[in-house]
Point group: C2
Chain length 204, copies 2
Amino acid sequence: MSSVIKVLLAEDQGMMRGALALLLGLEEDIEIVAQVGDGDEIVPQALAVRPDIALLDIELPGRSGLDAAADLRTRLPECRVLILTTFGRPGYLRRAMEAGASGFLVKDGPVEDLAAAVRRVLAGERVIDPALAAAALSAGPNPLTQRERDVLAAAVDGATVADIAAKVHLSPATVRNYLSAAIGKTGTRNRMEAVRAARQNGWL
Amino acid sequence: MSSVIKVLLAEDQGMMRGALALLLGLEEDIEIVAQVGDGDEIVPQALAVRPDIALLDIELPGRSGLDAAADLRTRLPECRVLILTTFGRPGYLRRAMEAGASGFLVKDGPVEDLAAAVRRVLAGERVIDPALAAAALSAGPNPLTQRERDVLAAAVDGATVADIAAKVHLSPATVRNYLSAAIGKTGTRNRMEAVRAARQNGWL
DNA sequence: GGCCTGCTGTGACATTTGTCTTCCCATGCC
DNA sequence: GGCATGGGAAGACAAATGTCACAGCAGGCC
């Protein structure tokens, strides 16, 4: 391995971002060429600096890291994507794979894993926690339809049926139907539990 | 300053904990003498290694970092406490001060702040983000009574009135009364919004 | 063409939730 | 003693929520 690995790092928490950048910078074969704290900056920055690998958090201000990953796949196909997230949710992993990510790492693990994962991804490997992969397979695909997700997502902060109806441009009666369907499919008793369950599985 | 600053680090996210430990370890005058990922281990570890300062996250498995801080105040008074948290919630800051913390840092800021804050706390200063202090003062104290907090906390995951009543050993009618009071005091429209608001302010 | 699925909408119904008023009882304060 | 305060509880009522059955319409599949 002769040349240095160029890394783009997207992470919203300043202290985490700075710490990871410093740590990876200590490795001789790794160089951080861009740091962003907002999902909307990922693609423009990547196009500007052309990194070998993008290290993306999922939950960011602006666009989600998963959306950005899908975009990078088409706009900068030579750039690998390694998702780095707090939550090892089955649905997240599934969506990451569909978005063309080469790896999926949870922030719970030891720091040493990170540089190792970067190198393995660059070597062409797929890096995925085996336990998480098993969970994603056993959990099955997302049972919620697009509309059900929309409505449930609009219900997160305690919005009333009328609020949700206005937000998604549907009749209040229809909103209640979708909520009822989502509650049924998630096996829960009310929308609050349904939201919890959907979040837990990475279905939103 | 002749001797080295001994630091105990409590943080649940493995990667964050490792990264912070490595970073602080790079400073010549700082040594990490203990790392814990569980709130229940803070006090025992502190008593064992007797650090000069404890760097505590608030939201941990086991005991909250705030509870541990209050305990350290009495069990190991010579140990300063610096709270390091994701969420700059007014209620958290207030409770941290009441628990005898010497500083309150949010994880959003740059990493350089951390070592600086540690040194300043050890020098006897109080380290608090001025904007956050202002917010905490303007927000006023927690308006919720103990019971209202209990009931609201039991309502977080979509529990029904009956569930909550069973959990806190109250009559369902009383639970509804408290929920109504909490909704009124938070200026919200339903329990879901009330829970959000209370969380936001660090009142739970 | 038939069949299924998904999206949108209604109306009716039972249940849950939120609000208000009232009550009892203990505590503490003057 | 007199009196406010706060926790706990009940009942009554209106509003919101969850369920169900049904219906029209589009698209995809065999």
